[in-house]
Structure formats: C-alpha cells, structure tokens
C-alpha cells in the first residue's frame, strides 16, 4: 500500500503573544549530529520547531585574510581546508579563478586530469553525503558502504600527490606533477568495479526502506522560486527543479566543446533534476550524480592525451617541473625566480571571478590583484555558507529529529561555512 504523505506535511506554527509554553534547546556546537562545529538554538513547542537560529563562526580562521598574505601557489594549501570532504575541488576552483586573472589557457592533458580529479572529488563528497543520509536517521550501515569506497579515493589521491587527504595538487597554469603510470587504469577499475556495487548496496538499504522514505519525503521542502531567490546552487537547487549546472551552463575544462583547441567534443553526461525539493529529492539527485561522474571519468580517461601538464614556460607563470629544477641550472634559476619573494608571478591589475561546480554547488573565487605577488583580495563564494542561510526556513514546523536529516541534505561543511 502506498504511504500517504499528506499527514507529514509540516504545519507552520505562528508565534503567539503571551504564550509561554515554548522552550529553547541548544543544539551543538559539540554534537555528533551536526557533523562539525556549528550551533543551533531551537525554539520548540513540544517537539515541534517554531524557530531556528543558527550560530556559526566557531571554525572561523581568517582564510580570506591569509589569502592576502600568501602567493597564488601557496594559498592552495589553505583553500583545500575549506571543504575537506572533497579537498581537490577547492584546489580546482581556486586555480580556475587565478588562471582567469592571469589569462592562462591550460594544456589539454592538464584539463583532462583536472576533470578526472573534479569528478573523483564529487564522488568522494556525494558518497559521504548519501551514506550520512542513512546515518543521521539511525541507519549506520549505509554510511559504512559509502565510507568504504571513499577510502579508495584517498588511495588514488595519495598515488598522485603523496598526501591522502589534502593533496595541494594544482599550480598556477598546471599541476604539481604528472600522474604516475598505471594511475588511470586504477581510476577506471575504481569507477567500474567499486562504485556501482557500493551504490547498489546503499540503494537497496535505503530507497525501499519505509522508515527512510517517511522521514525524508516532504521534509525540508523548498520551492524552485525560493531556491533561486535564496541563491541556492548545486544538488540542493537541482532537487527543487532549478536547471543549472556550471558544467553545462558555463562550461570549463573538458565540459566545454573544443577543449583541446582541435575540436574535441565535450564529455557527455546528464544533469539529474528532481522536483520534490525535499530531503529525499536531494538524496536522489546526489545518487544519480555519482553515476554520471563515473561516466565522465570513463570518457575522460579514454581521451587523456599525451603532452605537457603545465602551460608553456613562455607564459612565464608556471613553475618548471622538478626534473628541470634538479638536473639543469636553467631550471633551477627559473624556479628560484618564481619562488623568491621579490620576483614571482606578476598578474595584471584587476579582478576576476571563476567558479566550478563542486559537490555542494557553485564554489567561486573573486580574486583582486594590485599587481603584486599575493592577491589583494581572495574572496571565496562558499556554497555551504550561502546554502545554510535558508536552513531556518526549511525546518519551521518540523520535529527535532528532522534537524540532522535536513542539515545533512544541505551538506553543510563547517570549515567551508566559517572559513
């Protein structure tokens, strides 16, 4: 028998004058269901939520101020600590903006490798999120199925950069180094043989689970108009029916046609859209995005061309590769000139904005330069921060137990929220 959802529609509770049967509950900042350090002050009527006041800033560490004192390559180490669930995507966004400011065109091989990394990051983020969808409602198993495969992505990241969690892999106009031989085969093996079974496991556990469906359908609903007006992006907006994906609408890397300058077609994929606008719809969108990411990686690995990974040295912005530095005096001098504090990169005076579609939505950087070696201003448009402001709206009229479900469906990463 189909479940009736009408009974679960939230009823909005109005504040009444002189009505003192309300109580206030502190939620967080140290609470397992908040995943990270954020605090909510809930005003309750019984178990129903009348109002929510988010209190953020516990993890604020001045990333944007730091960005004004680190050069364009150094700052990548800091930005990838924003969304630490998919660190590589922060690298890609930051250097996309820097390359826009410098006016650098990447080499085809670099574009393909960056595309693969971007999609690995998306899978990494979404696997945690769909797993946590179960965890936050009391189903621990789905979380482990998701987390197990994330471990393999850490292995892949370690193989290219030497560091499992924070690779710091991109550089202005290129990458820290080329990928090792055999890496692409391991990536292919991962997306072909490891991700699909894990997704099947998560799906069979949750998608036909009555408890899961009852606790996610109709919870935290936002309409398409509201989603646009509240500046929502990414899976949260697409679950409300907003047709917007930067990979399609403002294509970059291999999502754009003619990415190699010789007429290569863009990678083929579909952008999943749902119309429910609730927690369940966001879960479905993310699940499907993992499949599409796998398809993109398969194509990208097939089209990986030979060639240099850094933009041409005459562009005079990229660091020479390590082989040149260690084995030729010219390379060593070139490297020294790039990293010395009174030389280094000289960008034009001006500003630039570039954004990439990360797992959470549009993550963009607005970089201003006064011509010096460090940015004048390194503003990040953090999707978590922008998406989180709608949170009280989504929760009014629901119950306390819906808080973790909605929180997870927005995929709030507090490090990115507070920066």
């Amino acid at each position: 028998m189909p479940v009736s959802y009408d009974l679960m529609k939230p009823t909005t509770l109005e504040r009444e004058e002189g009505y003192d049967d309300r109580w206030t509950l502190n939620f967080g900042p140290q609470h397992p269901a908040t995943h990270t350090t954020l605090r909510l002050v809930l005003e309750l009527d019984g178990e129903r939520i009348v109002d929510v006041t988010p209190d953020i800033g516990f993890l604020h560490s001045g990333f944007e101020k730091l960005g004004e004192h680190l050069d364009y390559n150094q700052y990548v180490v800091v930005v990838e600590r924003m969304n630490y669930v998919s660190p590589i995507n922060n690298d890609l966004s930051w250097h996309a903006a820097v390359e826009k400011l410098f006016g650098i065109e990447l080499t085809p091989r670099c574009k393909v490798i960056r595309t693969i990394l971007a999609e690995l990051g998306r899978i990494q983020d979404h696997l945690l999120n769909v797993g946590c969808s179960g965890l936050d409602l009391g189903g621990f198993t789905a979380f482990l199925y998701g987390f197990n495969e994330r471990e393999l992505i850490y292995d892949l990241i370690e193989q290219i950069s030497g560091s499992r969690f924070h690779p710091s892999f991109t550089r202005v106009g290129g990458l820290a180094q080329d990928v090792p031989p055999g890496w692409t085969e391991r990536v292919l093996d991962f997306v072909r043989n490891r991700v699909p079974p894990a997704l099947r496991d998560v799906e069979t556990l949750l998608l036909r689970n009555r408890i899961f469906i009852e606790r996610t359908k109709g919870i935290g609903v936002i309409s398409r108009e509201d989603a646009i007006n509240w500046s929502l992006t990414g899976p949260v907006a697409r679950a409300s029916g907003v047709r917007r994906d930067l990979r399609k609408d403002e294509p970059y890397l291999c999502y754009a046609d003619n990415w190699d300058g010789r007429g290569a077609p863009a990678v083929q994929f579909k952008v999943p859209i749902a119309t429910g606008g609730d927690v369940y719809a966001r879960f479905l969108v993310r699940l499907e995005e993992i499949r599409q990411s796998c398809a993109i990686i398969e194509q990208a690995v097939r089209m990986l061309p030979e060639g240099p990974i850094n933009a041409a040295p005459e562009a005079n912005v990229t660091l020479p590769n390590k082989k040149e530095i260690y084995f030729s005096i010219e390379g060593l001098i070139h490297h020294f000139e790039k990293v010395m504090t009174n030389r280094g990169h000289r960008p034009p005076i001006g500003e630039a904005y570039a954004a990439t579609e990360t797992a959470n939505g549009e993550q963009g950087f607005y970089v201003a330069s006064d011509g010096g070696r460090t940015p004048y201003r390194a503003r990040c448009r953090p999707p978590s921060f922008i998406n989180y402001q709608v949170f009280p709206q989504l929760l009014r009229g629901h119950q306390i137990s819906d808080v973790p479900a909605v929180l997870n469906s927005l995929n709030i990463i507090a490090a990115e929220l507070d920066r």
Binding site: I56, G62, K65, G103, E250, R379, Q389
Partner: protein, 177 residues
C-alpha cells in the same frame, strides 16, 4: 541574449546614471576580460537592482555573491570600499557585477535583502568583516566573529596577526560556566 543587451537595457532605463560597463581585468596584451562591471551610486542601488531582477531583458533572478573589497592601497583607486554584487541570470545565463563605492566615516549601503533573500548572510558577513552598514537589513549582527569583537578584520589597515583582541575575552572554565 548577451550581457551587452542587459547593459543596454540598463542604460536606457537609467540614462542619468551614466552606467558605463568596464571589464574586470585587462590583460597585458590588451585583451579585456569578458566579465563586466558597472558602477552604481549607493542611493539608487535598490532601484537599479529591482530593474535588473524584473526586466525581461535582464532577469537577474539570483544574487550569486555579495562581497566587498577595501581599496585602501589599490593602485588608481579613489574610494575606500567597493561593495560588489555578483548578479546571475538563470534565464539568459549571463552575469554582471555591480560595484557600489562608499567611504569612511560612515560607510552605508542600502540592503538588497528585500529583492534577494540570499543577500542576508553575505551582507552580515560584509558588515562583520568591513564594518559596512546595510540599512534595511532585518538582522544586521556579526556572523563569523564574536558579538563583542571590536574591529573589522578584513580591512586593509587591520594587521594579519590581529591587535590582541583575543586577550580581552573572558576565559570560561568549567566551574565558572
């Protein structure tokens, strides 16, 4: 429809404001960026934004981002603060940046939260980090820094290491809490 059409529509509607589009950056070889910005006076901001949001030729339904730059030492800058509105049209898939310049001692900009709800937290963040007040904002409080913080840390005259504010905060121990 390209961004230039949106700017033309804007210029036709507000001829007295002299809205000249400028590229965000011009490269050394003379190429200009395809990203354009327009200078808008603070007192006309809400009017301009409402037109940009509602006119079918512009349709900037979304405020993608709202931020600020302190142009204290910036080469060629005449004003202290530039509040930057990054507008995005989902209908036409184009972007436009608006800049509103304000100066000490009373940097004040009208709030656009009445047009885009998504401006609420970014405006609070700009207030928190630069001390720019947004008139008409429903809840203009500090958002990332503590409420009793006294400085505006992203201003250029604020040092990277701080001014020792953290020493002023009360230490809460388990017994005193």
């Amino acid at each position: 429809m390209a961004t230039s059409d949106a700017i033309r529509a804007l210029q036709e509607r507000f001829p007295e404001l002299n809205l000249e589009p400028r590229p965000l950056v011009t490269y050394a070889d003379g190429r200009a960026s395809d990203q354009l910005w327009v200078r808008v006076p603070a007192q006309r901001l809400v009017e301009v934004c409402r037109f940009l949001r509602d006119d079918p030729r512009t349709r900037f339904e979304q405020l993608c981002d709202l931020t600020c730059i302190d142009y204290l030492n910036f080469p060629g800058a005449a004003d202290r603060f530039g509040v930057i509105y990054a507008l995005l049209s989902l209908t036409h898939n184009h972007r436009l940046w608006l800049k509103v310049f304000v100066n000490d001692p009373d940097p004040t900009v009208p709030s656009v939260t009445g047009l885009w709800r998504g401006a609420e937290w970014p405006e609070r963040e700009v207030y928190d980090m630069f001390g720019i007040r947004f008139t008409g904002h429903p809840d203009l409080r500090r958002i990332l820094m503590p409420q009793n913080f006294t400085a505006y840390p992203l201003r250029k005259d604020y040092p990277l290491t701080g001014r020792g504010e953290r020493e002023d905060f009360e230490v809460v121990t388990r017994d005193s809490a």
